[in-house]
């Protein structure tokens, strides 16, 4: 039994020595050296003579088209920009987007841009699109989305001293996109809710109900308010308050309260 144990230990030890020795390693071919990147066909702008000899016209151009809109239940203002250019090898464009409230205060803004450079002869035409997407900071009504764009397209070439020059250039000056508005805020009376007749409609069923269902959420006084209550004398005090939107806290902050005065009125109810 003891001999058998010794034989087994010796076999294992010999196997381990053989496995870890050099004899166990087969010949391995070293991986080939990494291929050296081939030099680019051209790493600089074309020369003026190349541009001229290629018959490149000077009909250079750039057009920027903006498509502003509100998305995601009016919680995001999105401006798609499409840039088209002709006979240019260097193009750049930028787009700004911002949202303002009724008071003209900018609540949020953003921008995006593109740069296209081709170290070769200008292409006949090209186009690209990009998007600016900004939040309305939770406001879903009464905001106005505004946008503007600018850009330039150039044909760049090397002169005889190998200095890059703008052979031709077209500039799209800052241009505003169309303003887009969010829906008005919900203080307005829903269409069809005025008057007493709509109260009857509001209680109807079927298709009539769907048209005026919102009226039920904000009932009006009986008889349009003139319900025979006579007159009322009321004395009151009134203040004017000034609020501004704080961009840091993203909340309206009251900055001043100015008393207007105390008055008495006699009103019909």
């Amino acid at each position: 039994m003891r001999d058998r144990y010794r034989s087994m230990v010796a076999t294992i030890a010999t196997g381990a020595m053989l496995a870890c020795g050099d004899a166990a390693v087969e010949d391995v071919t070293a991986p080939p050296l990494a291929a050296t990147p081939a030099p680019p066909v051209t790493s600089t702008w074309p020369t003026v003579s190349e541009v001229t000899n290629a018959g490149i016209p000077n009909a250079i151009g750039i057009q920027i088209t903006l498509s502003p809109r509100f998305e995601k239940n009016n919680t995001e203002f999105v401006v798609d920009a499409r840039v088209q250019f002709q006979w240019s090898n260097d193009v750049s464009a930028s787009v700004k987007a911002w949202v303002i409230n009724n008071g003209g205060t900018t609540l949020n803004s953003g921008s995006a841009g593109m740069q296209y450079s081709r170290l070769a002869l200008p292409v006949a035409s090209g186009d690209t699109t990009f998007t600016v997407r900004i939040s309305t900071n939770g406001f879903t009504c009464d905001l106005i989305g505004k946008s503007s764009s600018e850009g330039k397209a150039s044909t760049i070439a090397l002169d005889t001293r190998l200095v890059a020059i703008n052979l031709w250039q077209q500039t799209a000056l800052p241009t505003n996109g169309p303003d887009v508005s969010q829906p008005k805020c919900g203080d307005e009376v829903p269409p069809g809710c005025e008057g007493t007749a709509t109260r009857v409609v509001a209680g109807a069923t079927g298709i009539m109900k769907t048209e005026a269902a919102d009226c039920d959420d904000a009932p009006a006084p009986p008889g349009g308010g003139g319900s025979g209550g006579g007159t009322m004398e009321i004395c009151y005090t009134i203040w004017r308050e000034f609020w501004i939107y704080d961009l840091y806290t993203r909340q309206y902050v009251r900055i001043a309260v100015v008393p207007i005065g105390s008055y008495c009125e006699t009103v019909a109810i």
Partner: protein, 157 residues
């Protein structure tokens, strides 16, 4: 926010603000009014009227838990007075508090008073909702018809 920004904004707002009583609305329609229960009126009393130029909801009546139909009638009458005097396109926010309300002899049995009681009950049963500046409060909406012109007025300096 820097103090200079506040001062500049305040100066611009005061310069552009129309003096009290100088505004007249060209045409008033029915208005949506939000009744809010929960927060105590900031200047005492049982009701307070807020008219906001930029924020929504535009017309708010804060109703204290002890407010009665008479108090609510006074607040809504005050809101109508403010609409007549300042219009619906405000350049700045307005806050007003009814001090004294005197009803006519037929007030107690009027249908309008009964309707106001219904609205107070409706407000107290309303589910809580989130309203900026007020937090989570009970709120309901009502529709005020076109206000009729006031019978007369006098200013107390």
């Amino acid at each position: 926010m820097k103090p200079i920004h506040i001062l500049l904004t305040l100066a611009a707002a005061i310069i552009t603000a129309v003096p009290a009583g100088a505004q007249q609305s060209p045409s008033l329609g029915a208005a949506r009014v939000t009744l809010v229960a929960g927060p105590a009126p900031s200047r005492g009393g049982r009701t307070e009227v807020l008219r906001r130029a930029q924020r929504s909801p535009r017309n708010i009546v804060i109703v204290d838990r002890n407010a009665t139909a008479d108090d609510l009638a006074g607040a809504l009458a005050l809101l109508n007075v403010m609409r007549i005097q300042y219009g619906d396109a405000l350049s700045s926010d307005l806050r007003a508090r009814p001090d004294v309300v005197r009803n006519g002899p037929r007030w107690e049995e009027s249908a309008y008073r009964a309707w106001l009681v219904e609205q107070l009950v409706r407000l107290r049963k309303a589910p809580e909702t989130s309203l900026d500046e007020f937090g989570t409060v009970k709120a309901v909406q009502i529709t005020l018809p076109v206000p009729s012109a006031s019978a007369g007025s006098k200013a107390t300096p």
